[in-house]
Symmetry: C2
């Protein structure tokens, strides 16, 4: 089947990430989408050293992309309001599907844009506009479609959350952390959009409409920033059992819909109170499913690209649906499943927690550690408490090793005269990202 031609407008952080991920994962993405998705044109004023786009036809007039008859899907990544609005409306008028990451555009001009898309029978997809790589638009719009939603609360600005996390963890002042965030590239030179809550209010406006089925109404949002929060407040909150987060809250009440962004105390036992640094999370309370939470990177080049490309795959799946199975049962098209082997457990590598009962005499630990060393198993931690009992519990946490080697070590340890009974073994997973 003929590839789908995508035109990328804007080659900044998200544009270059989208280009790179599409190139790197092209084979897997086409196994999911059922067709190759190729970048056929780029509209950008200048190249971006972060992406090697030298082989792609490039124009510095983005409107050329919206008019190019070869282009099936226009990806709007220029940001801002007026030019982005014109570009998207022109693409729609020319019968092209549109994917955008532009929260300001959707929150402020979404009603007009969706009406044009409906009239022209094209898709306008905007997963990347809210909470970066977290598929929250899809979760609310499709995954929770059974529910009457009570409220949505989100940490949907990574810069603000980074600042509040640093203030709490390190007792630093707001201005001090903001300056560092700007140096690290988390915060813009003009941080108003982030720290005064406007960016979060754009995203919350979109979530509110998705949850409650009302038109987009950004002008009704109440917005309060975090610039007045002091370390005193952070400490008092802690003392009272809370964390301060810059939260967007939209709630359905009998009188109407609440739509508000402001610093908020949240009980520390809530999972969302423990979402730290630049990470985002959205908590949805709905009548059938109860609370569900969605957590991940809310910004960044490839994290946002992940959502842009998910929208591309969705669009291609609709364009290409030759059967009812728009989405393949097992995510990849049936003819494109792979035959990677499942690893036997012996070959799996993890760290281990071992607990054993040792007879309390000198040299036991030396015997055990010798056996581990023979299997090339290195030790991360040992716990051995003083006791007056004859049998002493010994707990060892190891570094990573193959299951087969650990099985041999455990058999050898259990055969020691100085070890009583079986060795308890529980695997350890750090679950750090690769």
């Amino acid at each position: 089947m003929k590839p789908v031609n995508v035109g990328i407008c804007g080659l900044g952080t998200v544009g270059s990430g989208t280009f790179n991920v599409l190139a790197r994962n092209q084979e897997e993405i086409s196994r999911r989408a059922g067709r190759v998705i190729q970048v056929a044109q780029i509209g950008a004023r200048r190249p971006n050293p972060a992406a090697d786009t030298s082989e792609i036809p490039t124009t510095n007039d983005i409107f050329e992309v919206a008019r190019n008859p070869e282009i099936d899907i226009v990806v709007e990544l220029i940001g801002g309001y007026d030019t982005a609005r014109e570009l998207v409306l022109e693409a729609i008028a020319n019968g092209k599907h549109v994917v955008t990451a532009n929260k300001a555009l959707i929150a402020e001009h979404g009603n007009e844009i969706f009406e044009a898309a409906q009239a022209n029978n094209v898709i306008v997809a905007y997963e990347a506009s809210v909470a970066g790589g977290i598929p929250i638009v899809k979760a609310i719009r499709e995954g929770l479609a059974a529910n009457s939603i009570n409220w949505v609360a989100g940490i949907i600005n990574g810069t603000g959350n980074f600042i509040l996390t640093e203030m709490r963890d390190k007792g630093r002042a707001f201005e001090d952390v903001l300056a560092e965030a700007q140096a690290l590239g988390y915060a813009e030179a003009d941080p108003t959009f982030d720290v005064e809550g406007i960016d979060a209010a754009h995203k919350l406006t979109i979530l509110s409409s998705l949850a409650f089925g009302v038109p987009l109404q950004f002008s009704k949002a109440y917005t309060e920033g975090i610039s007045k929060v002091t370390t005193d407040d952070v400490n008092y909150a802690e003392e009272l059992g809370y964390r301060i987060k810059h939260l967007g809250v939209t709630r359905r009440t009998e009188e109407g819909i609440e739509l508000r962004v402001h610093p908020t105390l949240i009980p520390e036992k809530r999972l969302i109170a423990n979402v730290d640094g630049v990470m985002n999370a959205v908590l949805v309370d709905a009548d059938a499913v109860g609370p569900t939470l969605y957590y991940g990177a809310g910004a960044g080049s490839e994290a946002t690209a992940s959502a842009v490309i998910a929208d591309l795959v969705d669009t291609v799946r609709v364009m290409t649906a030759d059967s009812s199975n728009r989405v393949p049962h097992l995510a990849f098209h049936p003819s494109r499943l792979s035959d990677l082997p499942m690893l036997p457990m012996d070959e799996v590598e993890t760290a281990y927690y071992l607990r054993m009962q040792a007879i309390d005499h000198p040299g036991v630990l030396a015997e055990v550690t010798r056996i581990l060393a023979e299997q090339s198993i290195s030790i991360d931690a040992i716990v051995q408490h003083d006791t007056t009992e004859e049998l002493v519990p010994v707990v060892i946490v190891t570094h990573k090793v193959k299951e087969a080697a650990m099985n041999r070590a455990i058999s050898a340890i259990e055969a020691l005269d100085s070890i009583h009974g079986e060795v308890t073994r529980i695997r350890v997973e750090a679950l750090d990202a690769q």
Copy 2:
């Protein structure tokens, strides 16, 4: 447009929940799906007092539902293997779409069932089969379609997680908590499926295929239960900075795919280590987006029904697509948006954290609390530390009150001679489910 006719087979916990949620949220669900979804037939041996199905034609031969020419979508909620497999294959052969919550069926017979569905051009949807109400199948299959997935790790059996949480929080023994879980209805009379990890392995098998594009291979899963975990292990883990969770892990390595369910130590700082009680969570690590986490109820009547009905809405959206916009832009069809008002901030009710600088003399607190009482604002907590300074910080957490009343109170407090400067006000959200 004519309603879509659904036949529900099985009227147990999930069947009755599905019936009830469809009835209760019918109006909202049809605004999302674009058509009314009605239960036209039930196949069940006996009525369930939890659902008033008296007006729905009911048969005790479930195969009648699969053959009924009036039925568009068959919902398989009988559970088990052989009869469920026959029912689903018969429905497919008769050209009906199928929605199922049956993880055992998909994990063990999914390859055969999907092949039949593909050949007959019908949908087989199974969101409810993994992690109950969490839209994790959709997240991986669609939301993360841009990514090469590194690994998936999940707490995907609520019973096991409840037991481990109780062991940790209350120092109780495994057998003791299991007996309580059985009494509460969280665990079956025969708890083998839950505590030995078979149920989790079924779900993990499905997640593995979705993540890596391989056929379902339940027989290759390594499965180890939690019945040997002792309170000693739980305590040592805590001492070492870990939590023990019954985790399903599937990971792509150069040699092949790991597919394993076992008790696992996880660093306590990870969000997933703090998922407690009967809740489920799935953590996905992917190359573009990084780690994302999905949290919610993994079982229960209406939580599972939420996923079943999401699949029904998905199916109806495909059946009814008269345009490219299979899913409405704002989740609800454009003609069915509602005009609920956005509440002005004055009308919004929250609790408040107030911090003020008081001149240290007797009676200040009495003045402040009198003002709060005049606005009917009741106090949850007061913090006032001894100090040798002239100005004493006073922190008050209130119960819920409308913003307008709080604004009046703050103005009055700021006007007091004994209060210096402005009152800092931060809103408090408990974020408990309604």
